[in-house]
């Protein structure tokens, strides 16, 4: 079998798995836990192959002092890369243990049984433990392609008895989040950011900050300001004082012209997308067919959206003689180490980054920035750990947002309503601005504010299969003739980076809304219309399952009630998901979600509950983006500074959700964490059309936007 991509770089078994004298098995991964229940899935995968109690397994997440370098925990890739690496490593270990036991006990492998760390032979009544077989030594072997993991009919745990790991700690408040770290003698820090992106410090009378109780350090490095105190509340109070004392040059303003005008007007680099890959070649002109009887076009828009982590970003940093140690909730400890070394101008092996869980991040939020902030604050305090936390306003105003996007779709149909030509153009800023090694440049926030400021590296269009802007821009439908174009637009006003599902959210919103529009334009049932262009039986299966389940309930339509659905396969290569939504639209333009159905197929299901919560959580988050969210800003800066100015979904808004998991036991495991984002937005928009005959093409669907769309219609 083909080896996991993670094993190509880290083939040694011992770097992944270790047996210990207390019977525990430590499993190292270069990935991190973000609330997606990766530790649970990895535990079960290893326990299954080794036939041990899952309680024996301890998963150690990313740490630059030892774990495999697996880059970022992102892109719904962890199960396919790290998860499958662990499956192959464990299968190899199982094979080696059985061979050793066979030799030692003098019986054939076929006559051996594995049971919770012991290999026994019922014929001879002999047994030997895994630990006795390894003698506490390393395996010193690599995994090769001849490795044979268990087949699904041998499974005892996977897809069935998956333990809940870590819940007792979470519900008792015992889990240590990054914000909860406590070391002897530690200090507390806060940052004072400029009032806007372009503001720069003119003057600060530090004297009054030093007079505040508990202040032990005031860091002023250009426009980067931080205050270090003995106690946390002192740091909060001192930072507020410092903020009030700082005088800023705010003359350079943010361009507040309508973002969708900027997306069309600004310079851009345009690339054709062929079979999901952007090509560095000229964009072909549109070639609508001769026999086109009807042309339909529509424009879809999404604003900037926020990650909106409930726990503001934080980091701990400690300078000691040997190294700088950083505790961070970054999604990529190795790339972060690179980025920090670049800013500090030191070798990266001088820095040790350890991952500690934060609150859910949903992409690249303030975690990496807070790490640099903490390092800069700790620099003056060798030997003292400094815990630096962002306040709510820092997170809301400075995190890198999900890019605003405009998608223009055009289709030519023949007389019978058949799609002859499909044209898709996406205008957007990049979705990929994670910090890594950028030489003299940097993507870490504080580096732009320092006395010797770094510049952000220039963004180039990314061409890879379904990456960034063109993620899911190429529809899964069998349109023979298609033209897909990605436009990377320059000089847009807000800081952006990866937000869960990247470009897929808006591309799928556009494609699936447009499919609904096309079906209605020729009087077709939207389900049948889609089926005409679907040859992938797995895509068909999820769509049919979701629609059938949705149609099986709420048969009579009351006024303002509508049902809509949508389909996507994330990156056209990962989890299939169909979403159906029932909702009510009232006379004031307010949308109330009643019920949602999800049907999904991510190949072999490892942890059904984890899979379900990723799908449902994705739906709820997407519903929040779609119905309520938009980052607002003025000339000076971001005005969405808290949960009142940037409201998100609440308990009362959440619909009842039914989820159908299609378990393809023989198929490879597929990433599932970002599958429902796109379909949810389109299902809502299609349901609104079904309810009141109104097409909503601009997110968010707030009552004001709905009434505006109604007035324009």
């Amino acid at each position: 079998m083909k080896l996991s991509s993670s094993l190509e770089n880290n083939p040694d078994i011992d770097s992944w798995l270790q047996f210990h004298s207390d019977g525990k098995i430590t499993v190292s991964t270069g990935k991190v836990e973000l609330g997606q229940k990766l530790i649970t899935a990895f535990t079960v995968i290893v326990a299954e192959e080794l036939d041990v109690d899952p309680g024996r397994i301890i998963v150690i997440t990313a740490d630059t002092s030892g774990s495999p370098n697996e880059g970022y925990t992102a892109g719904s890739n962890s199960m396919e890369s790290s998860g499958m690496a662990l499956r192959q490593v464990s299968a190899k270990v199982r094979q080696v243990l059985l061979e050793k036991a066979s030799q030692q006990l003098g019986v054939q492998v076929e006559n051996l049984n594995l049971n919770d760390g012991e290999i026994s032979c019922s014929l001879t009544n002999q047994s030997v433990t895994y630990l006795e077989l390894t003698g506490g030594k390393n395996f010193n072997i690599k995994v090769s392609e001849d490795v044979v993991p268990k087949s699904h009919d041998q499974y005892n745990l996977i897809g069935k008895k998956v333990p809940g790991i870590g819940y007792e700690e979470l519900v008792t408040g015992a889990t240590t989040f990054i914000q909860d770290l406590e070391f002897p003698g530690m200090l507390h820090a806060r940052v004072v950011r400029p009032p806007g992106y372009n503001a720069r410090l003119q003057e600060l009378n530090e004297k009054y900050v030093w007079e505040m109780p508990g202040v032990v350090g005031v860091v002023v490095d250009g426009s980067f300001l931080s205050v270090v105190c003995e106690r946390e509340e002192q740091a909060v109070r001192a930072s507020k004082k410092m903020s009030g004392l700082a005088i800023w040059d705010e003359s350079k303003e943010i361009n507040t012209e309508n973002i969708f005008s900027q997306l069309k007007k600004n310079n851009r680099q345009s690339l054709p997308v062929i079979k999901g890959v952007a090509e560095l070649s000229a964009v072909p002109s549109m070639k609508p067919p001769q026999n086109s009887a009807k042309t339909i076009s529509a424009t879809y828009q999404r604003p900037y959206h926020m990650h909106g982590s409930v726990g503001p970003s934080a980091a701990m940093a400690l300078y000691d003689d040997q190294e700088i140690k950083v505790w961070s909730h970054s999604q990529g400890v190795y790339p972060l180490r690179h980025a920090l070394a670049d800013v500090l101008g030191i070798e990266e092996d001088m820095i040790h980054v350890v991952h500690v869980p934060g609150a859910g991040c949903y992409g690249h939020n303030g975690a990496d920035d807070a790490a640099l902030d903490a390092v800069l604050a700790a620099r003056a305090f060798p030997g003292k750990p400094v815990l630096l936390k962002w306040e709510r306003v820092d997170e809301h105003s400075w995190e890198p947002y999900g890019s605003a996007m405009q998608i223009e779709l055009k289709a030519n149909l023949d007389k019978s309503g058949k799609v002859l030509y499909w044209n898709h153009e996406t205008y957007s800023d990049t979705h990929l601005k994670r910090p890594s090694s950028h030489g003299k440049k940097s993507r870490l926030l504080a580096s732009w504010h320092m006395q010797l400021p770094k510049q952000a590296p220039q963004v180039k269009p990314i061409t890879g299969y379904h990456s960034g802007i063109h993620r899911n821009a190429d529809p899964i439908y069998d349109f023979k003739d298609r033209r897909i174009v990605k436009h990377l637009v320059e000089n847009l006003p807000l800081r952006v980076s990866t937000l869960r599902s990247l470009g897929a959210y808006a591309n799928v919103f556009a494609i699936e809304s447009f499919m609904d529009e096309l079906a209605h334009s020729c009087g077709r049932n939207p389900l049948e219309f889609r089926m005409d262009y679907l040859s992938d039986y797995r895509a068909k299966a999820v769509l049919e399952a979701a629609v059938e389940k949705a149609n099986s309930r709420i048969s009579s339509k009351s006024e303002g009630h509508g049902r809509g659905f949508a389909l996507a396969r994330y990156k056209n290569a990962k989890c299939y998901a169909a979403v159906a939504v029932d909702l009510l639209v009232d006379d004031y333009g307010s949308i109330k979600l009643l019920r949602a159905v999800i049907a999904a197929d991510a190949g072999q299901v490892i942890d059904p509950d984890g899979f379900r919560s990723q799908l449902e959580g994705g739906l709820i988050q997407s519903a929040s983006w779609t119905l309520k969210e938009q980052v607002k800003f003025d000339e000076k800066g971001i005005t969405s500074q808290d949960w009142e100015s940037y409201p998100i979904i609440t308990f009362a808004d959440v619909p009842e959700i039914e989820t159908i998991l299609i378990d393809r036991k023989d198929s490879p495991v597929l990433g599932a964490g970002e599958a429902t984002q796109g379909p949810t937005a389109a299902a809502i928009s299609n349901a609104v059309f079904d309810a009141v005959g109104l097409r909503l093409r601009r997110i968010p669907f707030t009552p004001e936007m709905v009434l505006e769309a109604a007035a324009e219609a």
Partner: protein, 155 residues
């Protein structure tokens, strides 16, 4: 600096602190009760909720002096991993946590509701959790867990 008497999880504490300090910092940093989470400091997200004299309240903004002579219960005060409170047990059963950062505040809000309203309907639970935010979208599992806890606690 002032001298404040406060009862937390049944223990009396006499604290020599700046009385303007929001309660949450005292709980987390002086008493070592890190289960109460800081989310916004603005009484908007509910991650910091504790129970004071039977009511779920925000601890992130009000000064500790306003809790003088009060009885405060934090997430650590209602159960431990070995002896979970029925609400905590229900959250474990329903696997009602993704990242879990918002969960202690939500459990405290749910407890304040169930202590006075043993038979709530779904709307009443949503109302009690109206100012608790969850960004992972664990709402369905959380609602199920609270309803399950209500029925367990009635037994």
């Amino acid at each position: 600096m002032g001298n404040i008497r406060i009862n937390v999880n049944g223990c009396e504490h006499q604290l020599e602190v700046d009385e303007r300090t929001p309660l949450i910092y005292i709980l987390r940093n002086d008493l070592g009760l890190k289960g109460t989470k800081l989310g916004c400091g603005l009484e908007q997200c509910g991650a910091c909720k504790v129970i004071v004299d039977g009511k779920a309240v925000f601890s992130c903004n009000s000064p500790v002096s306003s809790f003088a002579n009060c009885s405060v219960t934090t997430i650590e005060g209602i159960g431990t991993a070995e002896k979970l409170h029925p609400i905590q047990k229900s959250f474990v059963k329903e696997k009602a946590a993704q990242c879990g950062y918002c969960i202690p505040g939500i459990i405290m809000a749910a407890k304040a509701l169930l202590d006075t309203t043993p038979c709530p309907d779904k709307e009443m639970v949503c109302e009690a959790l109206a100012d608790n935010l969850c960004r992972c979208g664990t709402h369905p599992q959380i609602l199920k867990a609270v309803m399950r806890a209500a029925s367990e606690m009635r037994k």
